[in-house]
């Protein structure tokens, strides 16, 4: 019957339009573990093989994870007495290193993982060259010697901040790391080092208070957890982002109850 078909058709149309739900796009929820060392940031041939440095992504000032592979006669090998020495030769002639959080052999990836904090970038935000980063690798592989200097480019990011301690006028470097910021509670690491000559030493005895704010809206968020010291200048806490957009994490540093300084980290996602 025509009208039956007609009514059915109306209904089917309705249902079909009712079923067309949008496919939600979730933000990239990969974490460090899920990321691969897919980007070669430095590579050099040697008489016996090849040394390469990989990263997850373009290197930026702040925390980074590197993978160093050493290929010796076609085999990925470990290196005896491996030394990994990053150095920044600044335009003015000064030079300094950068703090290394950890270095270990990753049997699965057949290479060394280095977790470190780039305290500054090769270029300023305006694009001016600040200096040159190099990584100096030494060690031995059987009878062969490893002694290489590899150039590295580090791009600008507002993830590292410095202040002068109100207590002892030491220069303190703080680096914020949130692996993949998203709405909700985010784990974060805060690396704090003191500059001693051209090196950086972990600062392990601070109490740190954070307060996230969304400046364009003038609001903060509840349920944040101030970072506490884990090891070697690495502090861990939780920050709560109630929405996406431009956030600033106000970070205040105290030693023995005395306020020694504060910095603001912008976070946008």
């Amino acid at each position: 019957m025509k009208y039956t078909i007609f009514l059915l058709a109306i209904f089917v149309l309705l249902i079909q339009s009712g079923c067309e739900t949008s496919n939600p796009t979730t933000p990239d929820d990969q974490n460090d573990q899920g990321q691969s060392f897919s980007l070669v940031v430095a590579r050099q041939q040697t008489a016996w093989g090849e040394v390469a440095i990989y990263a997850h992504d373009t290197l930026r000032a702040g925390y980074a994870e590197l993978l160093i592979t050493v290929k010796h006669n076609g085999q990925y090998v470990q290196v005896s007495n491996l030394q990994f020495e990053p150095e920044m030769a600044m335009q003015g002639g000064m030079s300094h290193s950068t703090p290394i959080d950890t270095l270990f052999w990753d049997a699965q990836l057949q290479g060394y993982q280095v977790h470190l904090v780039w305290v500054m970038a090769t270029y300023s935000p305006g694009g001016d060259k600040m200096g040159d980063w190099t990584v100096h690798l030494t060690g031995t592989i059987g009878q062969d010697t490893l002694d290489l200097t590899l150039p590295i480019e580090v791009y600008y990011a507002e993830r590292v901040k410095a202040f002068i301690s109100a207590l002892d006028s030491a220069k303190i470097i703080a680096a914020l790391h949130i692996s993949n910021p998203e709405v909700g509670l985010n784990d974060f690491d805060l690396f704090v080092y003191r500059k001693v000559m051209h090196r950086f030493e972990p600062v392990t005895d601070l109490s740190i208070e954070i307060e996230p704010e969304m400046p364009s809206m003038g609001h903060g968020s509840p349920n944040n957890q101030n970072p506490v010291h884990i090891r070697k200048g690495r502090y861990q806490g939780k920050v709560n982002f109630t929405m996406t957009g431009d956030w600033v994490i106000h970070t205040a540093f105290y030693r023995d109850g005395v306020h020694i300084g504060k910095v603001d980290f912008p976070v946008t996602f």
Partner: protein, 739 residues
């Protein structure tokens, strides 16, 4: 009012063949309203004081009956009508009983569980029949409803002070989930009075909620071949509203169709005293295709599709406006009625769906940070209803499954900043399955006892990991899946205690499924109290005991109805302040939904209808409500003493009508919910008209004649109501019979 109170109109039995005694006969009942000639569903028919069934949606009932004597006492009862009874002699094997019931204009809605005779229907007959101006105007006349205005269009009905989180909306039996976190789209937005048969307000069988507000569109009819065209045009001066309605209706013996549509367009309105309420204009389309077909003597198919598209709807009382709001709704029903009476009188299978897409933004406003807030809801489901007579007791059993989807989010745009996103209702799906049973047990010739029970189970699941994370960041860990159940049960008793005195009593226990705002709402800014509202996934279901009683006294020239209702809420859900920073600019803080102990409320109404002289009738309704939480705080949305009155003089074909609405100052103010005291007011409307034929007339009226600046106690942020409105309505009809 040409109402003939106390009159019983017609009964006739038709002899078809010669009687054989002690043989089964068929009794065919056809019950309609004497005035509107519309079928009366749900009327209880009895033979020799034994109820034999209830009329269906077409006012029809067929029963097989074995008479023990040639004289039968037939009776039809239906609340809201004068009971009818008559002694008839059986003279054939089929007894045709056509009953026209006379309405008893109780200003009373749905005392009886699932009784579909609502006060709106009575008002349409009595007060507003000729010039329906808006759905909200009807709703505001109902004893247990107040309207919360946020703009010119679609106020939120407050049912016994309960906002729409606590009750369910249906249109044409299809659940409609509002998609706006700010209550800009109660379902009365999607209904135009021209296409409406009535509004049923049910306090039982309400889909797992405390109540159901059901908008029932008028249905196409089958009959001699006929095509009808109706057109109506209105204009109102207060907001320069133009309203056009076109309807085409077709009927044949086996087929009926209505295709109709309304277009409305309005500018900002002027409040009493001259203030321009900016923004409050809107544009909207509403359209419907409604069909019915008799497939065979047993099977009938009906289908309805309703669409509604609103654009640029200003909400002066809120910080945002609606850019668009769209409804699509459909219901396809297959009805089976056995030709010969068995235990099964009727079975109806329905599949239905609805979707609402709402988009609110604030681009008309001067604000530092602009926002967009889209929201979407979907419902898809099916329902099976069985009407049976078991051991002489009419019983209804229904089961329904529906799958729901809800999502709303917000994007904010601050100058020179990355757009900011957050969910407001995290994407949620919910499956609800419910079963309802109800019987009509006659108590001698005195009345009817109506027990009912309903069980709903719901599985709720949040869908998106990021939205779960952001909510967990605020309220702590919770399971994104939640199983809820809600059961309700109750009894109703209705009957006649004296010749002119009718009474009813309804007692109910109910649990309700919690609303997504209460469970998962994320920083929903409430501009009345200025707080951001946060859901609470650990909330316990709210429950209530509900008691409703009415007594009516009817004399020849008038009726008086007194009604009282009371609620005792347990695990009462209310928001209270928590100490976390707010999000919305200008927000005073954050509140979170909590179970706040117990609460009670009480409502009273007294309504009357009198025919003073022939052609001169007057009606009025007086109502008031009060309520308190166990901690002593007053309940919000409780109506102060409010009186509505109408006087109508109708020396046909002319009529003139005066309506008044007045309220005392409102001093029971729930400050914790953002309420403020409201002054009393008095507003008068007049209307005159000339009716040529039943559906052809011209009406000219002035609403708020004295241009009073006023607002009702319930109006959002004390939004002033429209000022003096001069309006005109012209309606005409063309009818073609084809045979």
């Amino acid at each position: 009012m040409m109402q003939k109170v106390g009159m019983i109109i017609t009964v006739f039995s038709v002899v078809l063949s010669v009687t054989t005694s002690a043989q089964q006969i068929s009794i065919v009942w056809q019950v309609q309203d004497v005035e509107t000639q519309r079928p009366v569903p749900g009327a209880i028919c009895s033979v020799d004081s034994i109820a034999v069934g209830v009329t269906d949606s077409h006012g029809k009932l067929i029963v097989r009956y074995t008479p023990r004597r040639p004289q039968l006492l037939l009776a039809v009862r239906k609340l809201g009508y004068r009971p009818w009874q008559s002694q008839v002699t059986v003279t054939g094997d089929t007894l045709w009983v056509s009953v026209s019931l006379v309405s008893q204009p109780l200003l009373l809605q749905n005392i009886v569980i699932s009784s579909y005779r609502s006060a709106r229907e009575q008002y349409e007959q009595n007060l507003l029949r000729l010039s329906p101006r808006s759905i909200d105007q009807y709703l505001a006349f109902l004893p247990q409803i107040s309207i919360q205005r946020r703009a010119a269009m679609a106020g939120e009905p407050l049912v016994q002070g309960m906002g729409m989180k606590r009750y369910e909306f249906r249109i044409a039996d299809v659940p409609v989930l509002p998609a706006c976190t700010d209550h800009m789209d109660p379902a009365n937005t999607y209904v135009e009075p021209e296409a409406l048969q009535n509004v049923a307000v049910q306090f039982a069988q309400s889909g797992g909620e405390f109540a159901m507000v059901h908008f029932i569109p008028d249905s196409p009819r089958m009959g001699p071949k006929q095509t009808m065209w109706t057109g109506q045009l209105s204009y109102g001066s207060v907001n320069r509203e133009v309203r056009a309605y076109v309807r085409s209706q077709y009927q044949s013996p086996t087929l009926g169709f209505i295709v109709d549509g309304t277009y409305r367009r309005a500018a900002n309105y002027r409040a009493g005293g001259g203030e321009l309420i900016d923004p409050s204009g809107f544009r909207k389309w509403n359209y419907r295709i409604h069909g019915i077909a008799q497939l065979s003597p047993q099977f009938r198919l009906s289908g309805v599709f309703i669409g509604d598209d609103g654009y640029d709807i200003g909400f002066a009382a809120l910080p945002m406006d609606t850019r668009y709001d769209r409804l699509r709704l459909g219901n396809l029903a297959l009805q089976y009625k056995p030709v010969h009476q068995t235990w099964l009188r009727e079975a109806v299978f329905q599949v239905f769906g609805s979707r609402v897409d709402h988009y609110m933004d604030d681009w008309k406003r001067q604000v530092p940070v602009h926002m967009d807030m889209p929201g979407h809801t979907r419902v898809l489901g099916g329902k099976l209803t069985l009407h049976s007579t078991i051991a002489g007791i009419p019983t209804k059993v229904a089961t329904e499954y529906r799958s729901e989807y809800v999502h709303a989010e917000m994007v904010m745009y601050a100058p020179d900043a990355t757009p900011m996103w957050m969910p407001t209702w995290p994407e949620m799906s919910r499956s609800v399955w419910s079963v309802v049973g109800q019987s009509y047990v006659p108590i001698a010739s005195w009345g009817t006892f109506i027990p009912h029970v309903e069980i709903s189970v719901a599985q709720t699941r949040l869908q998106r990991a990021d939205e779960i994370a952001v909510l967990q960041g605020l309220v702590g860990d919770f399971s994104p899946e939640r199983f809820q159940y809600a059961w309700s049960g109750g009894i109703a008793l209705e009957g006649k205690i004296l010749e002119a005195v009718e009474t009813s009593l309804q007692l109910l226990y109910q649990q309700r499924l919690l609303h997504q705002s209460e469970l998962y709402g994320f920083y929903l800014f409430q501009s009345q109290d200025g707080y951001d509202y946060l859901g609470n996934p650990r909330l316990q279901p709210e429950q209530r005991w509900y008691l409703n009683a009415h007594v009516s006294y009817a004399r020849k020239n008038g009726t008086v109805v007194a009604m009282i209702y009371g609620n005792w809420f347990m695990q009462y859900v209310a928001a209270s302040r928590i100490d976390i920073p707010p999000m919305t600019i200008g927000s005073k803080g954050v509140k979170q939904y909590r179970n706040a102990g117990t609460a009670w409320n009480l409502g009273l109404s007294l309504a009357g209808w009198f025919e003073v002289l022939s052609g001169l009738t007057t009606g009025c309704i007086l109502k008031a409500e009060t309520g308190q939480r166990s901690d002593g705080l007053p309940l919000p949305a409780m109506s102060p003493w409010t009186l509505r009155t109408v006087v109508r003089y109708q020396p046909k074909p002319w009529w003139i009508e005066v309506q008044g609405e007045m309220a005392v100052a409102n001093r029971q103010v729930a400050r914790w919910a953002g309420e403020t005291p409201d002054p009393g007011y008095m507003v008068w409307d007049v209307e005159a008209g000339w009716q040529m034929l039943r559906e052809m007339y011209v009406a000219l009226g002035v609403a708020n004649v004295f241009d009073q600046q006023y607002h009702r106690f319930s109006d959002w942020n004390d939004l002033p109501a429209p000022g003096r409105n001069v309006y005109v309505t012209v309606r005409g009809r063309v009818q073609m019979s084809m045979q």
